[in-house]
Symmetry: C2
Subunit: 202 residues, 2 copies
DNA sequence: GTTCCTTCCTAGGGCCCCTAGGAAGGAACT
DNA sequence: AGTTCCTTCCTAGGGGCCCTAGGAAGGAAC
């Protein structure tokens, strides 16, 4: 019996490629087993179950995404950094749709807190906003707005939600422009509105 | 043999409730058949297949959502209308998560073009923006930005994406404020940037 | 060469989607 | 009332997927 040489890492990598091909929700242990020339049951020595695989894939893709973003924003500030962040984000979502979808699953909060990649993501995001001079809780609100807009745009684009003839790239550029303007004219929290519980990541 | 009295409408309604309970992607023909005390195969007289059911559910939920929004924005304009639109949108997503998820599936473009509900949605959305005095292609860009932000926020909230202690409601209110400011200070298209192909829905 | 852990296997159960073909309900017509 | 015919629901069955239990073969350490 010749061994397939499976490892969790190889399985996750294959799952990532498969996800980009057929969509995240269609990634199946059966399909991966076929890909490796192995029976379904064999995968369970390396991965607990489908949910475990998905979580690993999410962490893998999340790390890839923040790596790209980190490279893009390095050495930039203000609007430049914002545009670079946005561009890297959307490019990843477009190039690697299955991986991107993986990054959006619900995940155990403890697992998120423990992940250095999530910490890095928060640091880079908050760092990028430093130029706009916001303070908590506005900072968290701004991060949430950025994440929402970026993710929403990519999600709608991915499902074919933009029907109009207007080029999607141009609308994106304009959205990034608009977000920059928004951050510069941020409607700041008056001290009376402030919330006692603040801070941390978005 | 006593008849169950199935109709496509009853099945879709049950599917909608089930979706809110167990999540859109976990809505299953088997589960619906059990709910009606009927065999799986019986449903296929009323619904072509699972994909067909999902499409019907999407149309059903989309109509519900735009109804709510229409009521909310009626008689309002400007920031008032924006806030009402946003509130109705998010409330639907929170109250009816399965139905809301259904509205986000990829759908046949021809089906969308033929649907009066989609037309209505476009009319109400563009109508709401009238107060900001934008023209194409800025109008389409603005609609896309709004949709992205609203959807992205609801999607992130639904998957537990907001980890910080900051209240999600307050961040939402602030996001709506920020969008209002953005629309008022929209970075308008110079005529040289304009795109020949414009218009229609977002 | 033996021991022992790991990797992969066979076997099998459960849930799901879907099709083919048949029987019963029930409306419309004679 | 009886017949006709469409619709609704059924049984039977195939295929795909997830997952578990238990066993056999690879291969490293002794």
């Amino acid at each position: 019996m010749v061994r397939a040489g499976l490892t969790p890492a190889r399985i996750v990598a294959a799952a990532a490629d498969l996800a980009d091909e057929v969509g995240f929700e269609n990634v199946t242990l059966s399909a991966l087993a076929r890909h490796f020339g192995v029976k379904d049951a064999s995968l369970y020595s390396h991965v607990r179950n489908l949910d475990d695989l998905r979580t690993r894939l999410a962490l893998f893709a999340g790390a890839e995404l923040i790596d790209r973003i980190a490279v893009a924003v390095a050495g930039r500030a203000g609007k430049d950094a914002l545009a670079a962040f946005a561009g890297a984000y959307r490019e990843y979502a477009l190039e690697r749709p299955g991986r991107y979808a993986a990054t959006q699953i619900r995940m155990d909060q403890a697992l998120i807190a423990a992940s250095p990649d999530f910490r890095r993501t928060a640091e880079i995001t908050y760092g990028m906003l430093r130029a706009y001079g916001l303070e908590e809780p506005d900072l968290t609100d701004a991060v949430r707005l950025l994440r929402s807009t970026f993710h929403g745009y990519c999600a709608l684009e991915a499902t074919g939600g933009f029907g109009a003839a207007r080029e999607v790239q141009k609308s994106w550029d304009k959205a990034v422009d608009a977000l920059h303007v928004t951050l510069e004219n941020w409607p700041r929290e008056t001290s009376s509105e402030k919330n006692s519980e603040e801070q941390s990541n978005g």
